[in-house]
Symmetry: C2
């Protein structure tokens, strides 16, 4: 088993994870970086950004120096206490082959991206590198999703189920997860289980909000086609900014009135649904994805910033 | 293997699924129901409601008669073409034990509720009964989630992954899924993988929107406690309906202006985040869950009704 107290850099130059133990660090702040990192000033950073992940260790001074020098750190990984991780790994009920189911889920959309298996080493690696890592049963080896496609899944948190034999990697994918180029691996539907049930390809497993977003996007795509007959309401909204904005303001007002006039809960839910639907049409017009909105929310409140940010705004 | 062209009733009286083939149907509309159903006029129905699920078969007349007689149908299930289901089952890559991973996901929230395994019979049963059904490896038998707790997962659609060895049951749970009473089985977090990583119980695996909802709900719960010092912005909003409504109207207006004044995409995403956050505080005041809002949206557009409904509203 690999040592879980190792920390890793991901270098897009060498396209590998490099254990920090193989990095020569030095107490001389003016020394150059070890050549095996493969960083260059032009390397773009992705991944971890929270400063809490930079511990007060030799790595911190290493990162700080890079920052001072104008280098951007590709991904610097939290050192996780070896004992604590070992204790966690001990609580997992590994099956007779030493595996547990590992499900990767998009932290913003909730989409199930893929499912694989993890062994002890894969889970330890995921925790230390924050890149979703699995054990390939066919190749009998570890593999980090994205190691060839560069579409890593940047893991924000890991969850175990009540039986301790199933794992969720909750994270943000860098790009499409499926090797086919689809956003997720689940794009084959049994088509609503209707009497004339049949397999339907290219229908992503989508929850309510994203189904609605997909419908609106489809209406937008259809606008280019010549239309005979009546436009749908969504198409009318897509074509008429004035109508759309008047509806958004009207629905927001109606939502407020459910509070001001003490209307019942179902009315509030219904008005909120109206606000959401119309606002999502605006997002479609602006080519903004709902996922981008959630990312804004996540970034705000992961910095415990949403309340402060809003407060600042209100007072400005 | 059970015959997949069977249709099933679920009877809460006998707590079993009863194949319709074992139900005596009759052409005489005045005849009484077969005794093996175990229905009584007091039995409460849950489950399938869409009329599309009631085919023009003897079952339909059976259901209709029950309705006329004031019986409520417990669950009546769509007949699925035997050949089509067999073809589907043939495409699944069952492992050496005849199993595939089956993940149950909430259609509205995206929450991963539980993960089990399905064999051919479990998947066939899920398709025909629309209740998430698994194969228990410990008991070597089928089990339908909810058969003892009554917290069924009502499956809306089934998805297969690109490898055809992993299944999503996308559906709506009747209540908490976990046997512990938690909403999902995934409530043990590795706490953000921070340097002082430790297991954290009772932290549900939640995506961005629901984390925010949870934070707002927590602020609301804290309102009762005596406060010393400054209130957070969320608490101020929770306590001041006038302020809250003025913010919702203001943020909706700002969202509209990103379109009217052709502001950039990131501005639109940011304003939509503001609208969502403030509207969610209103929902918290009204004790309405985001999930309820999505249910409204789903019910509207599953009836291809959202556009018509909105259209009606606009023209009224």
């Amino acid at each position: 088993m690999m040592s879980v107290h190792n920390n890793y850099y991901y270098s897009s130059l060498t396209k590998t994870l490099i254990p920090c133990s193989s990095i020569q660090t030095t107490n001389n702040p003016n020394s150059s970086f070890p050549s095996n990192i493969g960083f260059s000033p032009s390397v773009v950073v992705h991944g971890v950004s929270a400063t809490s992940l930079w511990p007060s260790s030799s790595l911190l001074s290493c990162s700080s120096r890079r920052k001072r020098k104008g280098f951007k750190i590709e991904a610097i990984v939290a050192p996780v206490g070896e004992e604590e991780v070992e204790r966690l790994l001990d609580t997992v009920k590994w099956d007779s082959k030493g595996l547990a189911v590992a499900i990767a889920q998009n932290v913003d959309t909730g989409a199930i991206l893929m499912q694989g298996f993890a062994n002890r080493e894969a889970l330890a690696t995921t925790i230390s590198t924050r890149k979703a890592t699995f054990y390939s049963r066919s190749r009998s080896s570890l593999w980090t999703k994205g190691e060839t496609s560069m579409n890593f899944i940047n893991v924000h948190d890991v969850f175990l189920d009540c039986d301790r034999d199933s794992i969720i990697y909750l994270g943000k994918p860098d790009g499409p997860t499926c090797h086919t180029g689809m956003e997720t691996c689940y794009y084959t539907s049994v088509n609503g289980l209707l009497p004339d049930s049949k397999l339907e390809q290219n229908k992503l497993a989508m929850t309510t909000l994203y189904s609605l977003e997909s419908t609106i996007t489809q209406r937008k795509a259809e606008l280019a086609e010549t239309e005979n007959g009546k436009l749908s309401w969504t198409k009318k909204l897509l074509l008429d900014n004035k109508l759309l904005c008047s509806k958004i303001r009207e629905e927001a007002d109606e939502l407020c009135r459910t509070l001001e006039e003490n209307e019942d809960k179902s009315r509030a839910a219904s008005e909120m649904a109206d606000v959401l639907y119309h606002a999502m049409v605006l997002l479609a017009v602006k080519d903004v994805k709902v996922e981008d909105v959630f990312q804004v929310l996540r970034q705000r409140f992961s910095k415990s910033g949403i309340e402060e940010k809003s407060s600042r705004k209100a007072h400005s």
